[in-house]
Amino acid sequence: MSGLAEFLYFLASVLFILGLRGLTSAETARRGVWLAEAGMAAAVLGTLMHPDIVTYKWIIISGGIGSAVGIAMSALIPMTKMPERIALSHAFGGLAAALVGVSEYYHHTHQLGHELPRITMGALGFEVLFGGLTFTGSLMAFGKLQGVIPGRNITYPYQNESNIALFVTAVLMLIGMIMWPALSWLLYPMLFIAFGVGVLLVIPIGGADMPVVISLLNSYAGLAAAATGFALGNNVLIIAGALDGASGFILSIVMSRAMNRSFTNVLFGAFGKVDEAAVAVSSSGAEVREASVGDAAMLLSSGSKVIVCPGYGMAVAQAQHAMRELADILEKEGVEVKYAIHPVAGRMPGHMNVLLAEANVPYDALKELEEINDEFAEADVALVVGANDVVNPAAKTNTGSPIYGMPILNADLAKACIVLKRSMNPGFAGIENDLFTMPNTVLVFGDAKDTLEKIGQALA
């Protein structure tokens, strides 16, 4: 490899880390993106000088199509579809890593006819295994988010046992091809097993657990890229892969912690089937009080502080703009409006923040759980827009509840609580919510966007 190419790779590595550092604050984030873009340009330039490249024809065609698709996707995709788009890009990342692995293997063993060193074979195998399962796993996540595949958790007998058996088979094949180079052809069947593992791993996972799964797949895509770096002996790949892997890992931890669950529990303990007895224990039979739009408007405008608790329902109803317009009206009347963002509200890390930012809500009004939870007691109204499990007080009180111990937004402590809800169906976890039957809670049924607009009209 030429010295210039090496230098460009080095430059790219430094720029990636600096770019990531930019993301630690909203003020410097865009500059961080530019730095990373420059880094990527440097890395691509360095690669294009690779002596093995004899024609640019296919690179230009496929890079051209890829750029066009990338530009179109990023420009046209609505913010509410961001989880789908992220899941899809994890799929692409996994696919690219797996294909590079297979191509490299084929080139060396079938064409050049020499055995790959064991270490390289191990890295290639790891890359193909994780690339493959990230590809299909992410496609499954995409399908679930998009509604093509049922979003609920799908379970069947011996599910975990068979999944683990399949994964262990793939790992044994990997070990086999490292130990006995004659068995290296196992790479191909292993790729197909990896595809299967990806599908089966995500099938049992319900919609509410998607933030963890998406983060975990992010991490796998990074590990696959890092393994590519080991196989090709390229440090910038190793570094970028490690950064991606670390990011996915951190997000998975943050998400699991926000649900008071472990990785293993998310992956192997499909939500909702945990403890059905607990549902009966909670106060079923208690009546909910339904309020009209006019009552809700009165309640909201009569106080001095409103805390909004948004959830996935806000994204589904695309109600973020209507929410901000209502907040504007309330603020004109002298009511302070803040937003309490639970880490797992929505379907991916940070989902609610992006939606509300899109609707022009200033980011200093978006408060994290720890930051705002003590303020609920002094709030006049907690306005719950399409959130359910993240405001369920059973997490604090009912030791038998599947979500017991999960940190929740203290909407129940506000002087009054207005819940916007489509129907009385339980949330994705299938758990009843005591908040809805509390004496100071009223429910307004209907489409969240529609309801928010009507409340705004009632106040205007």
């Binding site: 990531l20 993106v33 191509s103 963002i341 200033p362």
Partner: protein
């Protein structure tokens, strides 16, 4: 283990620690842009796929390389653009955009 492989491990572990340290400082506010951003960066697998697509080792490798370049470019170009599109939306109260 070859010395190069060990060197690679050093690089991986150090980068993972740096990544862990830096990313821990990213506020939850920016978690979605962070994901889109690291997605774009992981498109660095282009470094491998570009060679596979342009080296004409054999038609099988070229086809795989072609598809890999396609997938990786979508991630790189789309990932950076969408990260920027999201970040442009974040603004402070009364103030300018981030």
């Amino acid at each position: 283990m070859t010395p190069e492989m060990f060197f690679g491990l050093y690089v991986f572990v150090l980068a993972a620690f740096v990544g862990y340290g830096v990313i821990s400082g990213v506020p939850p506010l920016l978690h979605t842009p962070l994901m889109a951003f690291t997605n774009a960066i992981s498109g660095i697998s282009l470094v491998g796929s570009l060679v596979a697509a342009g080296a004409q080792y054999n038609s099988f490798s070229t086809v795989l390389g072609f598809v890999a370049v396609l997938a990786a470019t979508i991630n790189v170009v789309g990932g950076f653009l969408i990260t920027d599109r999201m970040l442009k939306m974040f603004r402070k109260r009364g103030g300018g955009r981030a």
